[in-house]
């Protein structure tokens, strides 16, 4: 702890030591002129002093420069730049609004943002929502998580799923933040779609390595998603009607330039469309005498989600935000059977359901106590629950009696967090941006509870609950980091993240150093290096490893230690002709205390505590990533390539031998391009390629029997007196065929009197590649064994009609 305290003091004092001359500070917010939406990562640069900064996650900036005349350039990609000139002798607050409109006070310059070679951050990618919406998508559902999968270093799980495997990590090792609140299950429809409605999202950032100290709690990545804040100027709406779902968003001022709101909702409607067909089929069957005319069945699947946010500007120094998300998936089957015999009239009712969902809320207060300091205080709530339920009710009535029996079963798992967090941005001078903060999360884990209820007329009621024990834990964290421009060529981000986990009588703590350095080789290129130690106090128990809703979140306990990782990355970045960004990175990552279910174990086995159902082991991953990206012009997009190796080693799995991770993928390519033919027509294309997943298959078989138990060897007949064992040389010993796919889309926009409409047409898997989903040995019609491959999605056309007003 002594070292930790000294390090924090040093980090705080350094900016003061290096800062002594007379300076002034200009600070303020930068937003989009039309909507008032804050612009994150916007560059503020003084052309005279050569000092600059970028806006934080709330669109706020602070730039301290020597007393002199200033010429500030404010720029952001896709927007016209502004120049602000003045002579400053005292601190001022100045807000900027960017648009493509020529303003009287400002001068439009070429669009510019901080380029890849200038950034200190390694392994960090900002995604534009315009790009997400322009690219083709499965069934026309634009999905931020699917777009992230196209980036280097991010592996897809199985076909169609939205799980992320970043640099060899598991799906639990991604810190997915929605407005700063962790999301525990980001999947709808068993992972085919993510919970994030693209109409409600303002910005997305992916961090794969070189983690700044402000992030903690997961090993492999941070996906920081910010919701829109709502238009402060005018009321707007947008929506879309697609093949499987529709969505609708409204935003606007409640009090102009002071309070705004946004609300966005989405629902699938396969169940609604299918219902009349199912009923017609049942009537038809009953008419033919098939089935019971007194019976009816109703079943289906749907998901919905709802995002809402209110943003209130109390004063220039105080802002308040409240954001909320709720979403749920439900698959259900209800059956009613009416019957009668003799004098008895009866009704049997059966209900079964599978459901899961998240609820996320955040109350945030931004406070600017001085023009060099920004404080963000957040209260957060996050809940994820999963439920399997079955109920049976029978009522039989005779002229004199009524007999009722009711049975229900439910399996429930849940994780619930209440948390608070204070984050401070302090900009003592343009060469330092210091961030520090503290936070506490109170976790409640319910890893798996079974509930049985039985009620019968005249009988005593049975009501019992059993399963794994609940766990309660506090996760406390503190961090400090400094983004320090050491000289004109060398810039660094160093910091410490401290976290501590209190569960039962056990306390784990971890001090995690973080460092990223960037050295400019020339005006257009730089070398970068980064190191990060990460700790994760949560585990995800998964049978499949693909992120199903049945996966259980569980804490580190006395028996199961937290996960730790160390990652080092080195990279080269270059900007070519101010248009194309090129980055090449190599990384090596180790992970300790990973968990896996024991062979044959399952979450349904509630007689055994989950802690006795897992093995503990380690993993490591290394490789190289190439990203070539063009952000401006009519044709934009990127080409990503990853070469990687990922392994696991558990003493109790694979007889202690190292084996490849299921998603160990030697080659992974993602190409995403869009082209604007004109203002109304744009075209998108996505091509992906990946080495086949590693799966476990027995390739040879042999006979097995207890030779000491054979009583008469003369009558022994091998085919009947022994059984066949399929030999598995190693876990994940067989490679599926490679995965590749081409998607295309075209968006046709048209201005209307009431706003704008867009028809989007897309084709998923354009050349109808039968990609492997899983392999299995089957038998042909002659009974001969064969290896069969099952695929999910053939060529799928889609269309979406969307509108804005």
């Amino acid at each position: 702890m002594c070292v930790f305290k000294k390090s924090i003091l040093l980090l705080f004092l350094l900016p003061i030591v290096f800062y002594s001359q007379k300076n002034v500070t200009i600070s303020g917010y930068i937003d989009e002129a039309k909507s008032g939406e804050k612009l994150i990562g916007c560059t503020v640069y003084d052309l005279k002093s050569g000092k600059g900064t970028v806006t934080n996650d709330y669109g706020w900036f602070s730039l301290t420069i020597p007393v002199d005349s200033i010429k500030i350039r404010v720029s952001y990609i896709g927007y016209g730049s502004q120049i602000y000139e003045d002579y400053l002798s005292f601190d001022i607050v100045k807000n900027f609004s960017l648009s493509d409109q020529m303003l009287k006070e400002v001068e439009i310059l070429s669009t510019k943002e901080e380029q890849v070679h200038q950034k200190t951050a390694m392994s960090t990618i900002d995604l534009s929502m315009e790009k997400v919406k322009a690219l083709p998508a499965l069934l026309g559902e634009n999905d931020i998580m699917k777009t992230i999968q196209l980036l280097p270093g991010v592996q897809t799980g199985s076909e169609g799923t939205s799980g992320l495997y970043v640099r060899g990590g598991g799906p639990d090792q991604n810190l997915i933040l929605l407005d700063g609140v962790p999301v525990y299950n980001a999947s709808h429809l068993f992972g085919f779609f993510s919970v994030f409605n693209s109409d409600a999202i303002n910005s997305t950032k992916l961090v794969k390595g070189g983690f700044p100290a402000r992030y903690g709690g997961r090993l492999s990545s941070v996906i920081d998603i910010k919701m829109k804040e709502g238009n402060m100027k005018k009321f707007h709406g947008q929506g879309s009607i697609g093949l499987i779902s529709s969505k609708l968003s409204f935003e606007g001022p409640i009090i102009k330039d002071k309070t705004s709101f946004i609300v966005s909702a989405r629902r699938t409607y396969l169940d609604v469309i299918a219902r009349p067909f199912v009923r017609a089929y049942q009537r038809n069957q009953a008419a033919k005498g098939i089935g019971n005319s007194g019976s009816s069945n109703n079943g289906g699947y749907y998901f919905y989600d709802l995002n809402g946010k209110i943003n209130h500007k109390i004063s220039d120094k105080h802002r308040l935000y409240f954001s909320h998300y709720m979403g749920r998936d439900k698959a259900f089957l209800d059956a009613i059977d009416n019957y009668s015999y003799d004098t008895v009239v009866g009704v049997d009712t059966i209900n079964s359901q599978l459901g899961w969902g998240n609820i996320i809320s955040a109350l945030r207060w931004n406070y600017m106590p001085s023009n060099k300091m920004f404080i963000n205080t957040t209260l957060r709530y996050s809940k994820y629950d999963f439920l399997v339920g079955f109920g049976f009710n029978q009522t039989e009535t005779t002229p004199s009696t009524t007999r009722n029996s009711n049975f229900s079963y439910a399996y429930i798992s849940k994780i619930e967090d209440w948390s608070g967090k204070i984050d401070v941005d302090w900009m003592p001078d343009p060469d330092h941006l210091v961030k520090f903060g503290i936070g506490d999360i109170y976790h409640t884990f319910t890893p798996g509870v079974n509930q049985f209820q039985f009620l019968q007329t005249g009988q005593s009621a049975l009501d019992t609950t059993f399963g794994s024990n609940m766990h309660y834990a506090h996760e406390v964290s503190a961090y400090v980091e400094d983004d320090w421009k050491i000289n004109s060529k060398l810039k660094g981000n160093g910091g410490l993240h401290f976290s501590s986990f209190f569960v039962g009588d056990k306390n784990y703590w971890s001090l995690q150093p973080r460092l990223s350095l960037r050295y400019l080789l020339d005006e257009n290129s730089s070398l970068k290096i980064g190191y990060a130690k990460m700790a994760q106090f949560l585990h995800l128990l998964t049978n499949s490893g693909i992120g199903l809703p049945t996966d259980l979140w569980v804490p580190a306990t006395q028996q199961i230690k937290p996960q730790f990782s160390d990652q080092i990355a080195i990279g080269y970045a270059r900007t070519i002709s101010n248009k194309i960004e090129f980055s090449l990175e190599g990384y090596y990552k180790t992970m300790e205390n990973l968990i896996e279910y024991k062979d044959g174990a399952s979450f349904f086995d509630s007689e055994t505590d989950w802690q006795d159902k897992v093995h503990i082991g380690r993993g490591w991953s290394y490789g190289g990533e190439l990203l070539i990206e063009k952000k401006m012009g009519k044709s934009t997009g990127w080409i990503g390539y990853t070469l990687s190796w990922t392994n696991r080693q558990f003493d109790s799995i694979n007889f202690g031998q190292t084996y490849p991770y299921r998603y160990d993928r030697r080659h992974d390519i993602g190409i995403a391009l869009t082209h604007e033919f004109n203002e109304n027509v744009n075209f998108g294309i996505v091509w992906v390629y990946g080495t086949g997943n590693a799966v476990t298959l027995g390739l040879e078989s042999y006979s097995s029997f207890n030779s000491s138990m054979v009583e008469n060897i003369n009558s022994f007949y091998l085919p009947y007196d022994s059984y066949s064992v399929d030999h598995i040389e190693n876990r994940n010993n067989y490679r599926m065929p490679a995965y590749h796919r081409l998607d295309v889309s075209i968006n046709l926009k048209k201005e209307k009197k009431w706003g704008e409409r867009t028809w989007s047409f897309g084709i998923y898997n354009s050349y109808n590649r039968q990609n492997p989903f899983f392999l299995e040995f089957t038998r042909d019609i002659n009974g001969s064994p064969q290896l069969s491959q099952y695929s999910l999605f053939p060529l799928i056309p889609s269309f979406t009609y969307s509108f804005k007003f």
Partner: protein
């Protein structure tokens, strides 16, 4: 993974299935050994050949191999000769706590090697029995006391065989009478058991990590059938009249083999389970060459 597929099947979105190439020529047959040896019987090793999983032919006994048993100093103890149906038979009996090496030579297949030992005989001090009832069922609770040798890791396998008497009488005439012996399913609730899954098993596997060098009192329960039905002069009854409890002290390799084989059988065909690797101590081949020492205790009920 398969679980996920079954869920998807419910929604009818599996698009297609196709047969993909699997080059079985890359898989060359190897020798599979089934050789459990005990000190109360002469050497007996079975040798067969493995095959590709998509080869629909039956397993074949290997009859033209040369099977040698050596001691730990590589002195030949005996060459086992093929008798019948892939069994190679010797004339000597293995002895406990001696390490034996197996070497099998074949004209076309890779030669295989292995080695193992028969552990010491375990002394069963005694067995206490009590009767209990649960949900109207009669249970026999056994408390088996045995002495675990100290300073050495021991691995155990327990099995129980019940001897039952079945009787049918009609109007005083015996229609049917039979004594049968069946391997019993036991309720393995003792903390030492390592089987995993259901506590109901027909064999129990455990090691001495919790009681090394101590006298262990092992607790197991098993259903004790004892019923009688009489209707209009027709009597039908069944009751257990005896029990034989086996305590095998097995080598570490045999323990790993049996445990993994048990998990394999539990997972085989189960779409929700991770495929299980079966342990083998045969170099260049498959199967098991392992020693076991067996002791038993009979109880009249």
């Amino acid at each position: 993974m398969k679980k996920f597929t079954y869920i998807l099947l419910l929604f009818g979105i599996i698009s297609c299935e196709k047969v993909i190439p699997f080059d079985e020529n890359e898989i060359s047959p190897k020798m599979a050994i089934n050789g459990i040896f005990q000190s109360d019987t002469t050497w007996r090793i079975h040798v067969s050949s493995s095959k590709s999983v998509i080869d629909s032919a039956s397993f074949k006994n290997i009859t033209n191999a040369s099977v040698f048993i050596f001691d730990r100093n590589e002195n030949l103890i005996e060459e086992l000769m093929h008798d019948t149906n892939g069994f190679y038979i010797g004339n000597t009996r293995p002895q406990e706590n001696l390490n034996y090496h197996l070497y099998i030579d074949h004209p076309t297949l890779d030669n295989v090697l292995s080695q193992n030992v028969i552990p010491s005989l375990i002394n069963i001090v005694g067995i206490d029995t009590t009767t209990s009832y649960s949900n109207g069922e009669k249970y026999l609770d056994l408390s088996i006391n045995f002495e675990d040798p100290g300073n050495i890791s021991n691995y155990y396998l327990v099995e129980t065989y019940l001897v039952g008497e079945s009787l049918e009488i009609e109007n005083g005439d015996t229609l049917y009478y039979e004594i049968d012996t069946n391997k019993a399913f036991m309720l393995l609730n003792d903390e030492v058991f390592q089987n995993g899954g259901s506590p109901w098993q027909d064999q129990g596997l455990f090691n001495d990590i919790l009681f090394n060098g101590q006298t262990k009192s092992l607790e197991i329960s098993l259903p004790n059938e004892d019923w009688f039905w009489n209707e209009s002069g027709y009597i039908w009854s069944y009751r257990n009249i005896g029990l034989r409890f086996y305590l095998h002290n097995i080598s570490q390799d045999y323990y790993y083999y049996r445990r993994s084989l048990e998990l394999y059988n539990q997972a085989n065909g189960n779409p929700f389970a991770q495929p299980v690797q079966v342990y083998s101590n045969i170099q260049n081949g498959f199967g098991i060459f392992a020693g076991a020492q067996v002791n038993y205790f009979d109880i009249n009920l």
